[in-house]
Symmetry: C2
Subunit: 343 residues, 2 copies
Amino acid sequence: MATIHDVAKYAGISIATVSRALNKPEMVNAETLERVMHAARKLNYFKNDAKLQNVKNNKVSLGVIFPHITSYYFGELYSGISRAAQQHNIDLVLYELRNENISKQGLEEAFAFSKRHMVDGILLARNVPTAYDEAFERLDIPVALLLGTHESAKLPAFKVDDIRASFDAVSFLVSRGHRQIGMISLPPTDQMSDIVSRLRGFKQALDFYQLPFDEASVAYGNLRFDDGYSAMKELLASREKTGITAVFTVADEVAIGAMRCIQDAGLSVPEDISVIGFGNLSIANISTPKLTTVEQPFGNIGEEGVKYMAKVLSNPDHVEKGNFYLPYKIIERESVTERRALR
Amino acid sequence: MATIHDVAKYAGISIATVSRALNKPEMVNAETLERVMHAARKLNYFKNDAKLQNVKNNKVSLGVIFPHITSYYFGELYSGISRAAQQHNIDLVLYELRNENISKQGLEEAFAFSKRHMVDGILLARNVPTAYDEAFERLDIPVALLLGTHESAKLPAFKVDDIRASFDAVSFLVSRGHRQIGMISLPPTDQMSDIVSRLRGFKQALDFYQLPFDEASVAYGNLRFDDGYSAMKELLASREKTGITAVFTVADEVAIGAMRCIQDAGLSVPEDISVIGFGNLSIANISTPKLTTVEQPFGNIGEEGVKYMAKVLSNPDHVEKGNFYLPYKIIERESVTERRALR
């Protein structure tokens, strides 16, 4: 069991200073405080502190760091996390990343929050570039990724294999007779992104089935309904040239926007153009027509993340790295049908 | 500034026992622990505890207790709360109520979580019956309600006036020439519920416009898409008798289910039957047709709750009670049109 002496020794700071840092933090400078807190955490000093223990009531807490609380998938992922957390008697502490993109500063704020709230582990729903590794090392709390991956694969990541799932979505359209297939994708960026890798799966499938790839068959936009609507408008404008009869979209909300655009142009889904989504969010079931889509098992992804964390927290030597792919499947509803001649 | 002596005096317990309760809680019985913690909280004892202060870094935390994380409105309410919390430099700590209905036990668990995580105030998104008053008194942390109300009106509640808003939704249909108006409602229950009070607003409006109320024009169900679908099926079955040309629904998701049911029956929205929703969730904008609906200002409701709490926390004598109604408005899209003859 670590004492204040151990903390002082580890931090290379006098006992008096450590005591001051712990009891009157406003009297020490930020760097010293950081060193002391790091040592205290490293040595599990706080676990011995009955008063903190009492307040926390011995319950393990897991931080959940999430962008886009308003997105449709948040609730589905969170309820998987929540279900598993209840089973493992773990408290959850949610933090919303406010920027669309996970800036380093945004992440540091999330980590500071997590430390203030004494979480024992963190589930982060985001891709993590290698450039951020140092921030994770300083954090010194175990982290698992959900939906995203770590560029240098040093963190465990729970997700579906986006490339394979996209390949299979295109195969599904091919199996329905479609040969001219369009895609609505996120714009490719420098930063590695799983959603962008869906475009790779799309291209691989065209290649595999020896179908033509035409730049005009791919439109780019963000992930909301309106983005899908405008991207589809572009695809319709070049339709005489491309002859597309089906569209693969990177997200359900985009697919629903695209369907609406097709309908507003006086065409019908799926008779004139079939549309397949990605996600299987609950909105897929309330659109007209109901959306055929690739199911991402959000609930299971959340559960697996919590289960992994429960293992790590009961045995800190248990560390796993790399991507853990969960199974996906295609949910067939009403938005894809057999190809028919272009009208 | 409270000392351990003050806590002992307030609790009527010896200093040694208080010290034991604070430092080795496992050595005292639950009742004693409860008394000590109550006294310590009451006297702000923990505020003097540098170690806790340090961990919390002087930041105020607000607990957010919420049912239905997966519901479409959660994100919209939470992002309003989150925006205001950031402005006031407040940390949020979310807790999901897992039962559809706020059982007393569920609430007690949420309160225990809030205490473990040392929140300074609580925003609760729920109706609270008088029978729960005692639990709130024991809680001893200020609470404000969002969307719901307190039956005995002892807690501040931020919401729209559901009766008036429903009255206005019906008025809107009347202004478009509709005279036979149906409703899809939550089943009336003993427990007071704001959503149920939308049925009262509906009836008051029929009364005001001297329109007939026919039991067969009201169907009951829960708040999801499928519930709206089946309720609409009932309304269609009795349509020859009731002659309804428009339907007021208690929630957007219900409205979208109802629209789909109408379409599946070979009728069209709004030409054959107009539909108006309640909420103005983001799904209202992605349905076909886009949904005309009563806007509940979820974001503002969240912000007002946080602002109130910031006031209370900076001045504990500042207490307000009762309902604070926020403005709503009708958002006109595509699902309501002028009445035409029954076909």
